[in-house]
Amino acid sequence: MNLLTQWIRSYLPTLPVSDRQLAEDLTLRGIAVEGEFPAGCGGARFEMDITTNRVDAMNHYGVARETAAIYDVPLQPLALGEELAASRPGEGFPVRIDAPDLCGRFTARVIRGVKVGPATGDIATYFAALGQKPISAPVDATNFGWLAMGQPTHVFDLDKVQGGIVVRRAVAGETLHLLDGTERTLVADDLVIADEAKALGLAGVMGGYESRVTEATTNILVEAAWFDPAAIRASSRRHGLHTDASHRFERGADFAAAPAANNLVTRLVVAQCGGEVVGPLVDVVVSETAAQTAARAPIQLAVSEVARHLGTTLDGKGIAADVIERFLTALGCKLLSADEAGVYHVTLPSWRLDLAREIDLIEEVARVYGYNKFADTLPSFTGIVVELPHMEAERAVRSTLLALGYSEAVSSTFASAEEAEMFGPAGQSVAMGNPLSAEAGRLRPSLVPGMASMLAGNLHRDVNEVRLFELGTVFTGSTAQVDEATALALGLTGKAVAGTLASANDALFYEMKGVLEALLAKFAGAVTFDAEHLPTWFEPGRGARVLLAGEAVAWFGELSDAEAARRKLRQTCVLADVRAAMLLARPLRQPAVCELSRFQAVVRDLSFLFPDSVRWEAIAGALQGLAIPEMLQVLPLEVFRDPKGKAVAVGQHSMLLRMRFQSDERTLTDEELTGWAARATTALTVLGGTQRAPE
């Protein structure tokens, strides 16, 4: 909101500081001045950012009160509480509160014989400087009222009111034509200001169209009331109407201010439009509400608690009792002098419903004293630092993948319903109640769709070399019970790490396998691969499952052609889906070193033709099955297939494999090596292989 320094200063005749200094000092005390602009009427216009708990400072007088506390200067009383004499005697206007839980106070005053025109004088000048739209003198008087002292008021065309005022809950389905020209259908929880026949306005939010003051109006009813904050908030949200009035009522208006505001507006209307004040100010008060607001019981404030919560001040003196007393008094509290234990009994101001506890007063003291006048101290500590159990494993995952050339990415937590079903367990995705968009209707049950989108995003920007991983939360279960787990996804597209085993076509798959091997090698337990139970988003025959210590821990493979086409992917993408939660729960592998042999290792290579039905697993198994303790390692060196079937028949492949022998005790002899090679040849022949003649 905007405030004029000239208006603020009108309540502070002895304020010694410049507008610039005032802006800075208010900001340091939580009444933030976001901008300072020259005002048409002289002085400055402050653009304020006032926190929601400080509705009392959302007006000129409230900020003047803060200013008085900061500089210890006198504040002019508003002097509006005194009874405004009626110029003509009359009956009080009939007012009845039928919803005393929602309306705590209602004041009404009749003015007769007005002539409605535009506002002049201070109102016109200030409004021009503030950019507040002028409407007519009586309406502007109500706006002047809340701008001055924060209390919203309303003026009715008295001749449109039948009988008296009734403050009641709406009848469900009742319609109301509001000032903004809209027609609203009300619910039973809406509070209305009505007459004997109909609703006149939506209480605390907006007045009605029919009973508004126009140029033809000659008699006016001035209303100032106090409404329940929660009820006004609900009504305002329900109808999508956020007004200056609802903004203040829903944050808690000043219960004591209604008569004063009514007098202020009545005075201004008569001064601007003439007419006579008829009869007394009607003031209906719900005593229960008064007891909870304006007449709250005093609370205690112990001087020792101020130091316990706030600590050391820069000057080392702490905050003395007289300083506490001065600050709180300036803010409108009444303090009964402290007892021997240093405890004050503090009566709270009616306009500060945010103050209710001792800690609230301590905050006020700290605020007015100035946060930056407290020292910087460090607390001592007797506890210990505890590391989360999976942190070390998580670091190992990150550092391994980074070292292998994979960059970390962070993607959206949400997925479309379609993707959730495709990539997550069937029927177990969790729907959002108010999704950000149609594509974000579910919580992601898998990181894979996000990873596919990130690969696609890069490819669509002509970035063709992409290696990414994401470590994040996935969600399954139902809207009744959501299960969260840490997951890991990897994405790869582009030119694979070159190898001699795979054709260019298959190289990406084997790079990803290598990455997963390196990753899982960090953890304890044997790693095996198979092609069982693969998800449907893999291209058939192009995916694999990874087991760690016999448990399925990851799946990887080429994204299916259908999915790739849907995402317009121009090149093969390999994705991996790792159950990181399971992985991180496992112990890290503890390296155990073998003694290095003093004797030379010897290699023997074999070249074989195998039918494609014989897989490497069988070949390695057959050789390990020979149980030769000196056979340290068996490796495939080259695999060759000839699509034309010339060098190697179709359905077969040739393999060059290498065996490595070494003994801890002696140098191996030629006879031993020849014998072992012969046994290996036999075993592979039994497997269905044919030894190729040495070249």
Partner: protein, 337 residues
């Protein structure tokens, strides 16, 4: 040059060797002195000529040009680059590390929370605007549950503070990194999901000046020892007193520049003393779970703080649009290598 060296200084057939053999070694004793001097002068002048030639740039150029198999050292290296840490993950780890060295343990918690942990226990009144679906992302089908059991995407990592206090007695120092969610329109500086780091320190006699000192120290550790901090009153339901903290602009040192909008200061985090109502909610829940109350507000106090990771990363690395952190665009990520 090598030929010249061999011709004169060669051990077997160099001219100096020949001169030495033919003249110096066989010279009569009375002539040896004179011949020796002249021989040495010759040797020195030959060595000087060689050393001068070796040091001349022209020679070096010639040498490299004519050396076979010389490498073009200006060609790029061929090793594939390691992956790049995500700037947000890295920034978050740095913040967590600073507090770790000050005795803070890491706490983590679920991203889908109940209203109790996200709002009720943190002193949000039942009709607080943040509880509205306009501000919070909620899980579907929650209307039939009691308010406190309704599921939503956590709007801050503060629920982890509550969960930790329910589990543990004071003293407690906790730093909580994690993703949080708001139902917000997205723009260059705001996303509906973002990363946050929050902290909590609870003990007997923790004061507002301890909060100031701790954050001032942490900011100096993160941004350099010349950084200053200042605090403004603010409002959060779960802290009282509440504050916003600014640091002196890390780009201009506080003189005022475009990045700090010429104010010399940058707003960085929200903080405050834990509201007694939060401790009371924790103790009620502890009792409900059969534990002894441990957060007596007459003895125990604490402070909490929270900061957005994106904002800090954007500022540090000069990132203009927060969305870039979530695109996984390699051209963006690789700049953090």
């Amino acid at each position: 040059m090598e030929a010249f060296r061999l011709a004169w200084l060669g051990r077997k057939n160099g001219r100096l060797k020949l001169i030495s053999d033919a003249w110096l070694k066989v010279a009569p004793i009375e002539a040896k002195r004179l011949i020796g001097q002249r021989f040495n002068a010759l040797k020195v002048s030959i060595e000087a000529a060689l050393s001068e030639a070796e040091n001349s740039q022209v020679w070096n150029l010639l040498k490299s040009d004519f050396t076979a198999a010389a490498l073009d050292v200006t060609l790029p290296g061929t090793l594939r680059r390691p992956g790049v840490e995500h700037p947000l993950v890295k920034t978050m780890a740095e913040i967590v590390g600073v507090f770790g060295r000050m005795g803070y343990s890491v706490g983590l918690g679920p991203e889908v929370e109940t209203d109790f942990y996200n709002f009720e226990s943190l002193n949000f009144p039942p009709n607080h605007p943040a509880r509205d679906t306009q501000d919070t992302l909620v899980i579907a089908d929650q209307d039939n549950k009691p308010l406190r059991d309704r599921l939503l995407m956590r709007t801050h990592t503060s629920p982890v503070q509550i969960r930790s206090m329910i589990e543990q007695e004071p003293p407690l120092r906790l730093v909580v990194p994690g993703k949080v969610y708001r139902n917000e329109a997205e723009d260059a500086t705001h996303l509906a999901r973002f990363q946050q780091v929050e902290g909590l320190c609870v003990d007997s006699n923790i004061t507002f000046s301890d909060l100031k000192g701790t954050l001032d120290h942490a900011m100096k550790a993160l941004f350099g020892s010349s950084v200053k901090t200042r605090f403004f009153p603010s409002f959060f339901p779960f802290t009282e007193p509440s504050a916003d903290m600014q640091i002196s602009c890390i780009f201009c040192g506080g003189k005022g520049c475009r990045k700090c909008k010429h104010s010399g200061w940058i707003e960085l985090l929200g903080c405050g003393m834990v509201d007694p109502a939060v401790f009371q909610a924790v103790d009620r829940k502890r009792v409900e779970l059969g534990r002894a109350p441990a957060y007596d507000t007459a003895r125990i106090s604490g402070f909490a703080f929270g900061m957005g990771v994106e904002r800090i990363a954007m500022m540090r690395y000069g990132v203009s649009s927060v969305g870039l952190f979530y695109t996984a665009d390699m051209r963006f990520l690789e700049q953090f290598a």
